[in-house]
Amino acid sequence: MNNILEVKNLNKVFEIKKFLKKSLSLKALSDVNFTLGQNVTLGIVGESGCGKSTLAKVLTQLEIETSGEIELLGKKYKDYKPREFHSLIQMVFQDPYQSLNPRKKAFDIIADPLRINTDKSEEEIRELVYSMMKKVGLRAEFAQRYPHHFSGGQRQRLGIARALMLRPRVLILDEPVSALDVSIQAQVLNLLLDLQKEFSLSYIFISHDLSVIQHISDKILVMYLGRIVEYGPRDEIFLNPKHPYTKILLESAPTLTVGKQTKEIPESAKGEIPSALYLPKGCAFSPRCPMVTPECLQAIPELLNKDNRLVACFNA
C-alpha cells in the first residue's frame, strides 16, 4: 500500500490571549490520524467549528501544527525544501471571488507558480499555460482578461489550473463548489474527476454538502469539534453510519425524496454546536447525543475499528 500522505496524531491548538485574563486555548484539531492513497479522494465532512478548514491549512503548511507528524511520499514535512514541497501539494480555495488577485490577468495567475518555482523560459511557460487552460475548459482568448470578467465557475477553473501548474500529487479542495450555482457545480465536479484520472491526483475534498462528498469521495472522514468521529469507505459510512453524529448529519441533509416522511431529529440533538473553546470533559458530542451513557461524560472515546470503519463512540 503506497500512501501518498500519512497524518499521525496531528494536533493544532490556537492560544487566544485575553487582556488581564488567563489565555484560552482552542483545540482546533485533536489527534487526527488518516492516510491518503494514490488516486484516492478523501472526503472530509463536518459543520462549522469542526476543524476541517484548519486541517486544510495545516496540510498545506499555511498554519504550522502544534504537534504530530505528516509524511508526504514517505518523507516528513520538515525534511522538504519549500520548492519541492509546493510542487507536491497544492490547494483550491472556496471563494472564487477572493482567491484570485483582482489586479492580475488570468495568464499571469496561472503562470506565476511556474515563474517562481521553475527556470522555464517564458516561451515554455506560455505553452504550458495555454495547454492547462485548455484542459480546464478555458478558451485561450481568456488569457488576457482580469478575474472580474469571469463567472464563478470560470474563476474556479482558473483556481484549479493555477493549483495544477506545478503538477502536484495531492490537491486539497476546500469547499471548491459550495459558492457555485447548482448547474455550474456539476461542471466543476466533472472537471475534477477528469483531472484526477489524467494527472493521477489524490484529493482531499472538504465540504459541508453531503451529496457532493458522496459523489466525489472514495473514503469519508467525519469530524466534530476537532476530532474524527468516523472514518471509512464511502458506502459504509453513507449506507450504514455508526456514529450518532454521522447518523444525524445524514438525516438532516436535504434530499430530493418527495412525500417520504422525513426522519425526526432526536430532541436531544437539536440545538447548537458548542464552542470549541469550552469542550465537554468526555465525548464532545455527548451533550447532543441521543444515545448518551454515563461513560460518555467521563472519557473521550477512542477511534476503534468496527464494521469496516473506524468510529469513536462507546455505544456504536
Binding site: E47, V182, Q185, Q187, N190, L239, P254, T255, K270, E272
Partner: protein
C-alpha cells in the same frame, strides 16, 4: 387567494446602458392561505428581486408593472409609503439569508423585539416583553428570558435566525417570505430551522414563500414549486409531480445535475461524470429573444429562439411550463 400576481414585470434603470434592464419578465403566481410555495432558482433568476417587489422594498430606479398584484385585498401597485408600512411587517413578514446582518448589532434582542411588537400592536412594554418571551420559546430558544438580554453577536447563526423568525411572526402575518433562510447555516441547523418554519406555517395557518437555490431544501417542505430561470418562471406545479416528472428541460437538467441525493441511495454512480448543463446563465443584457434557456438546452430547435415562449398549462395536474418541447414530448436520446 391570499396573494395573486399576474404578468409582473420589473425593469431597472441603468447608468451604463440606455435601455432599462428587464429583470423579471411576465411573472404570474399565486399563494393560498396556509400554503407553502417553494421558489427555486440560481443566481440571476430574479427570485430575490421579486420578493423585494412584494415587500415594496425595491429602489426608486426600478419600474414595477403588472396586470394584477393583489395581496389580501390590497392592490400592491397603488400603495403609498404609509400604506406599505402598515402591510409590511404586519401582514407580510420577511426573513433573510444572513440573520446576523439583519439584526442591529448594537441593540439587545429584547429592544429589537419589543420595538417590532410595539410598532404594530397597541400594548404596554411589559406585555410586549412577555410576548417576546413566549415567541422565543415558540421558536425553540432555550431559556428565552436570558436570551432576551443578549446582543446579536452573542448568538450563533441558528439562534439569530430563530430570533428573526420570532420577530417575523410576532404580528401573526398572513404571509412569510423566507429568502434563502438556511443557506448560511450548518446542515443539522438547517433542518431544524426548516422544520420550525413548517411547524409555524401549519400552526398559524400562515402562507410561506420559501426561496432557495437548493431543490433538496424545498422538495420536502413545500406543497407547490415554482422554478425560475433568467427572470422568468419556467415551470410550476405540485412539488411531487414536478420533481418526479419535470416538463421543462431546465428543471430536468437541474435535477439531473445534482450529485446524487443521499436517500436515493447512491442513485448516481459515484465518481462518474454528472450530466451537467453547459454554459452559464445569460447576464441581464445578453438575454435571448426566445426561450431563455435555449442557448443551453439540448432539445433546442430554431422555433425556440424566434419569439418569447408562452406558458402552457396542463389542466388536470395544475402544471404550467414555458416550453414548446416539454420533456414528455421529446424523445430522449
Amino acid at each position: 387567494m391570499l396573494l395573486e400576481v399576474e404578468n409582473l414585470n420589473i425593469h431597472f434603470k441603468s447608468d451604463r446602458s440606455k435601455n432599462p434592464i428587464h429583470a423579471v419578465r411576465d411573472l404570474s403566481f399565486s399563494v393560498k392561505q396556509g400554503e407553502m410555495l417553494g421558489v427555486v432558482g440560481e443566481s440571476g433568476s430574479g427570485k430575490s428581486i421579486t420578493n423585494l417587489a412584494l415587500m415594496g422594498l425595491l429602489p426608486d430606479s426600478s419600474l414595477v408593472t403588472a396586470k394584477k398584484a393583489e395581496f389580501n385585498g390590497h392592490n400592491l401597485l397603488s400603495l403609498k409609503d404609509k400604506q406599505w408600512q402598515k402591510i409590511r411587517g404586519r401582514e407580510v413578514a420577511m426573513i433573510f439569508q444572513d440573520p446576523m446582518t439583519a439584526l442591529n448589532p448594537f441593540l439587545s434582542v429584547q429592544f429589537q423585539m419589543v420595538e417590532t411588537i410595539k410598532a404594530h400592536m397597541d400594548i404596554s412594554k411589559k406585555d410586549a416583553i412577555d410576548k417576546s418571551i413566549e415567541l422565543l420559546s415558540l421558536v425553540g430558544i432555550p431559556s428565552p428570558k436570558d436570551r432576551l438580554k443578549a446582543y446579536p453577536f452573542e448568538l450563533s447563526g441558528g439562534m439569530a435566525q430563530r430570533v428573526m423568525i420570532a420577530m417575523a411572526i410576532s404580528t401573526n402575518p398572513k404571509l412569510l417570505i423566507a429568502d434563502e433562510p438556511t443557506t448560511a447555516l450548518d446542515v443539522t441547523i438547517q433542518k431544524q430551522i426548516l422544520d420550525l418554519i413548517k411547524m409555524l406555517q401549519e400552526r398559524q395557518n400562515m402562507a410561506v414563500v420559501l426561496v432557495t437555490h437548493d431543490l433538496g431544501v424545498v422538495s420536502q417542505y413545500s406543497e407547490r414549486l415554482q422554478v425560475m430561470y433568467a427572470g422568468e418562471v419556467v415551470e410550476s406545479g405540485p412539488t411531487k409531480d414536478l420533481i418526479s416528472h419535470p416538463e421543462h428541460p431546465y428543471t430536468h437538467a437541474l435535477l439531473g445535475s445534482r450529485p446524487g441525493a443521499l436517500v436515493d441511495n447512491l442513485r448516481r454512480v459515484p465518481k462518474t461524470i454528472l450530466p451537467s448543463i453547459p454554459g452559464i446563465v445569460p447576464s441581464f443584457n445578453e438575454r435571448p429573444i426566445g426561450c431563455q434557456f435555449s442557448p443551453r438546452c439540448e432539445f433546442v430547435t430554431p422555433e425556440c429562439q424566434r419569439s418569447p415562449i408562452p406558458i402552457f398549462e396542463s389542466e388536470p395536474a395544475h402544471r404550467e411550463y414555458r416550453c414548446i418541447h416539454p420533456i414528455e414530448h421529446v424523445v430522449i436520446k
